[in-house]
Symmetry: C2
Subunit: 545 residues, 2 copies
Amino acid sequence: MRIIIIGSVAAGTSVAAKARRNNIENEIVIYERDTDISYSVCGLPYYIGEEYITRENLNPRNSEWFKKRFDIDIKTGHEVIKIDSEKKELEIKNLQTGEIFCDSYDILVLATGAVPVRAKIEGIESENIFILRNIISADKIKKYIKKYKPVSAVIIGSGFIGMELAENLVKKGIQVSVIEAVGQVMPSYDYEMSSYIKKELIEHKVQVLTEEKVVKIDKQAGTILTDVGRAVAADMVILSAGVKPEVRLAVQAGIEIGSTGAIKVNRKMETSINGIYAVGDCAESYFLIDGTPCYRPMGSTANKTGRIVGDIITGGDLSFRGILGTGIVKVFDLTCGQTGYTETEAKKAGYDVEIIHNIKPNQTEYFEGSSEMVIKAVADRKSERLLGVQIIGKKGVDKRIDVFATAITFGAKVGDLAHLDLAYAPPYSTTKDPVMYTGMILENALNRGRKIITIQDLIKNRTSFTVIDVRSNKDFEKGHIEGAINIPLGNLKEKAMEFSKKESIVVHCNKGVTGNAAQNLLINLGFTNVYNLSGGYKEYKQETK
Amino acid sequence: MRIIIIGSVAAGTSVAAKARRNNIENEIVIYERDTDISYSVCGLPYYIGEEYITRENLNPRNSEWFKKRFDIDIKTGHEVIKIDSEKKELEIKNLQTGEIFCDSYDILVLATGAVPVRAKIEGIESENIFILRNIISADKIKKYIKKYKPVSAVIIGSGFIGMELAENLVKKGIQVSVIEAVGQVMPSYDYEMSSYIKKELIEHKVQVLTEEKVVKIDKQAGTILTDVGRAVAADMVILSAGVKPEVRLAVQAGIEIGSTGAIKVNRKMETSINGIYAVGDCAESYFLIDGTPCYRPMGSTANKTGRIVGDIITGGDLSFRGILGTGIVKVFDLTCGQTGYTETEAKKAGYDVEIIHNIKPNQTEYFEGSSEMVIKAVADRKSERLLGVQIIGKKGVDKRIDVFATAITFGAKVGDLAHLDLAYAPPYSTTKDPVMYTGMILENALNRGRKIITIQDLIKNRTSFTVIDVRSNKDFEKGHIEGAINIPLGNLKEKAMEFSKKESIVVHCNKGVTGNAAQNLLINLGFTNVYNLSGGYKEYKQETK
């Protein structure tokens, strides 16, 4: 059997390696347009910023290695220009010689990846405009920085690559501006969570411009112009406005494209044409929670789908179970992680959601180096399933995101989380882990009448609520929600009679715990409509400043 | 309703706080023998070693706080000396005045905790013999160190408290010896995993004596004597030989004690006597995987069971789902984590187990600060469920243990792990997380004939196997398994014909990956009995040195 794979970065080489592990009889050939293969795309921003990361680090394996280790033929510098799925034939162009030749396959795997979204901007073809998409383009950026020592750089787009680039260019001593067309950085996060990321950028002297579009790149002046008429210094510009699936070949071959714009595949990663599979960034994915098609190009998914197809085409029984859109990015000293649905996505998908914000230390607070995480969790009120989590903090974020991702994968209900037997010792966690607290707050909100209101919902309906701030008088004096009444928790029991038991009351403290105590007290006193403020005054300040 | 709780460290105060959150009508009284309440027992070793950790850090809440915040009466210095469960009455001694009085309850909760196991050793009553069990005893140790500046210390016992003490005494400049009666340190780990911990101790100049018992403490000479006639310098001695449940009151009251020696409870934490509950370190626990009773006194479980009982006695519907024995301990630069069954425990429990060792970096290897973890996983061959995991490494251990614990809780089969959508970016993980690799190796072993043999099984049956070392000639020359044949992977295909296809062959590389490639190759060539060596030569060296 002759297996041909188009593309050899993460997904393509995973297909080939797994197929070979399962079977040594098949011929396995990969055609690759570029010169580099099987490299770490995710490492590219760090390759630019860190001297210690070398080309060999990112790209330790070449065609010779694959030939020797796996008897896989990788033909770089070869572009497949046509698929004839009837005859099971390909037309291929040798990019060096220009020669065009045919090859035939029994099984074809498309691993054509993604291509950067290119905005239509005047002057975008200048030589100081870069797009980071492979090692060659990273090398261009590195060389430019070394040669021209740019003082300023503009990054267009603020997804995770944009964030990593910002940090790595700042490391190089460059004044960085990030320009994002929508109203927030890191658009995959809910707005208020992204505001923590924006703050971190600003603290590291990155200029952040949101809801602004670059309309012109003026190489001569060394500036860019935005649609609000602002000029921003830009000795170099990096386009990082996301990617779209590379589906040109698939379209030419008549393969069905999904609603997301990526190649439609079933759980066996089969395309609409028999014998043709698609993997990695060119293929559509499924949301694990409810099977909704989605497009989330990620290195981890590319590897996973590659391995699965490698297995399937050699007789294995693996299939793709879908994704949670789990992602993580380091933004200077912050770690930002997410898994499952955001509030925005969950609402859009039609869920009736319960939302909570939970601010907790990553480890025992008295232990050196302890720092806070802000955890936002989204649950489905009907099924009580956890739908998604976003976490921002300096430490311990990656751990909790992976625990939440695992729990969601197995269909965890919010009430399951507090029962987890997680590892506790002072250097690693708190006696009850933040994951457990998150579950407790959600369960209390869903099943025990401990309702939670988000800052945004409070602001929207401010006049409908009496707000009781149960912090100390001193804290209250330093700043408080407008119109809030200050009753420190210790005095609440006696003062409670001043309110009607049917009044809609929002209580809050600084981060939520004492607010919860106040809420319990009022509910136990017979109050019927008491909310605790999600994330407390701390989150309020973050969201309203 | 009058709720009386006996004991006020972690479990007792959790009961009280949760009961109050649910209901403000009940009277809640706690009797506590000691003076301190609600403190972090797990922080005590660090309180000894770190100047920056204060008494207030460990013990931020006193009786006044509980009275004011929760209207809970905590009577310290009061020992309950008798329970009359017929009359629902208690006899209590005020330890300060000697006065004895009665109190009556509607619901009684035993949170009497655990007491240190005291070995019978000559001279054990000397004043330089310490037991770390509460803040007062920690203060005694701190004062002794400050006043007498001991040069040497002996720690008797090597459980997690012993390990934390060793590190914290070394921080104080003390020459530490750890003496352990059984044949390994950290007896809750499988032997070969504990050997990594022993190595770490030795590297930090801790003298480690296993399979040795202290028989005499000679205060005069400043030494201890062991049962092999060894004298060890000991300006101070800390007994840390584990704890046993404090069940004297329960026994007096006629409450049933379980097979583990702790108070027997059902899933609602009810003892054998109606209206009496037990929580925390005095109560028996259940293994979540199969319901087997066990005794694992842990702060996290104490908090959990306390909260559950606080809910149950006020009409809530929580129940205890059992534990995985998840634990974590920092031993100098190492983190050692475990969850679920060890190999020893699983075999004892009657499982037919698959065992693998997986050596993997915590993050992308080219990223600064990357370091290796050794992961040992135990699976049930019959059900394919993951039963337990032990991990030793410098970084990322706590994350993977919590992910594994979560997966085991939800009944994960080994084949589920590779499908997890975990968070990947170079600073946090590898494209396939070590959790996923662990699942893949186990699944390949169970379902795809990629059998794994442990070092110990190979050693035991050495003559039954042909061992092929597929590393380079250079690595082979530096050291190899006796009698192994060196065939680098690249040459294996052509040399394979020299062996019989029915031969029992063990292949191995350094850590397992190339060994797996060799195994795949031989199996694909028609060999029927090929094992990959668990953990490779690296693990072999660790286990046999």
